[in-house]
Symmetry: C2
Subunit: 214 residues, 2 copies
């Protein structure tokens, strides 16, 4: 199986964590978002993913984009080392936590949106930086409130083992810290992240450990 | 079961379609995004969903936000009238199509983002409107390309019956048309939407048919 990946993409990072947690070997195909005017926007990559976004996944049965769709596919095809609990409310909660990051934070703060703000609307760096901080902080506050109120929490996002929600949490925290957002004010997020990034699977998936990292 | 809903929210609209397709009776609790400074931002609603976003769902087992998490929960608890195919690649494809809308279009073009552009950055109406059009058109082009290339397509997004992807497609088209975006240039989207909106479940879920519609 192949993963089309960019070391710093938090969506690709999520999928790498899931692959490593499940112990699945894969070929990493680097797609550099900054080189060649964006390798993700070139025709050959659009043959893989017409949306021109990373990550994309390929095995002998499917060519697939969208990080959550990829991880759910891995979960169904390789159920060992489950990343979802067995009970429907637990599964729903894990998906909800993942989507708070995957729908409410990441799409509004990723590279293409920041580029559009700067290039098409002429938003100055300071306002662009405030935009990023606003949506990340609002999203982390939401995530923290959801984690804090729910008995499913702990030590990981949901229970004693990493789930899809943790595959989302660690990359989002990495991303926030890269832009100097302090997560220590979100005690559940901070604690869960520390637990995650100590695990070999999260370390192997880390941006700094990818073959395409600068 | 209860659905906290706003008639015009396309995320709430998706869940309403899923509920009607499955023939599930529910109590609609209106949460008006424009009245009272935004009823979704008030403390009593944040008790239901700390993120302050609609929709939210409640039954005797769970209080849940995020439209895809809600629909996947309904799919697991009420598997009659399935909204996902049985095979893993098919399920993955349906989730991918839904997430192209749910992650790549909707979060960047919804009310809170448009409000932030106008109020915090001072983006004029014209540029705000171009922002909306840009992301919707880019997303619809991606969706169309995915639908066009894949043999799973047709007559619905995936196969002979509506799936989760169709629950996403019709509300996104409704939203685009409300902002005068012509979808006739996207033949698969246009055709699938016409098929969907002729169905009683989609009609019952339509914004104009909600008790809170103006």
């Amino acid at each position: 199986m192949k993963l089309y990946t960019y070391f710093r993409s938090s969506a690709a990072y999520r999928v790498r964590i899931a692959l490593h947690l499940k112990g699945l070997a894969y070929d990493a195909v680097p797609v550099h978002l900054l080189k060649d005017g964006g390798q993700h926007l070139q025709d050959d990559y659009r043959q893989i993913n017409p949306s021109g976004l990373v990550p994309a996944f390929q095995d002998d049965r499917i060519t697939l984009s969208q990080s959550l769709a990829i991880i759910e596919y891995l979960e169904e095809v390789y159920p060992d080392v489950p990343l979802l609990p067995k009970d429907a409310p637990g599964r729903a909660r894990v998906r909800e936590l993942a989507q708070i990051i995957g729908c409410d934070i990441h799409p509004i703060t990723n590279l293409r949106v920041l580029n559009y703000l700067a290039r098409e609307i002429g938003v100055p760096d300071q306002a662009k930086s405030e935009w990023y901080r606003h949506w990340v902080i609002e999203g982390l506050q939401s995530l923290e409130a959801h984690l804090a109120r729910d008995p499913g929490a702990g030590p990981f996002c949901h229970g004693d083992h990493p789930t899809i929600a943790d595959c989302y949490l660690a990359p989002q925290v990495f991303n926030a810290q890269r832009f100097n957002i302090d997560v220590s004010g979100y005690p559940n997020i901070d604690r869960i992240n520390a637990l995650c990034i100590a695990l070999p699977a999260f370390q192997a998936a880390h941006p700094s450990r990818q073959p395409d990292s600068e």
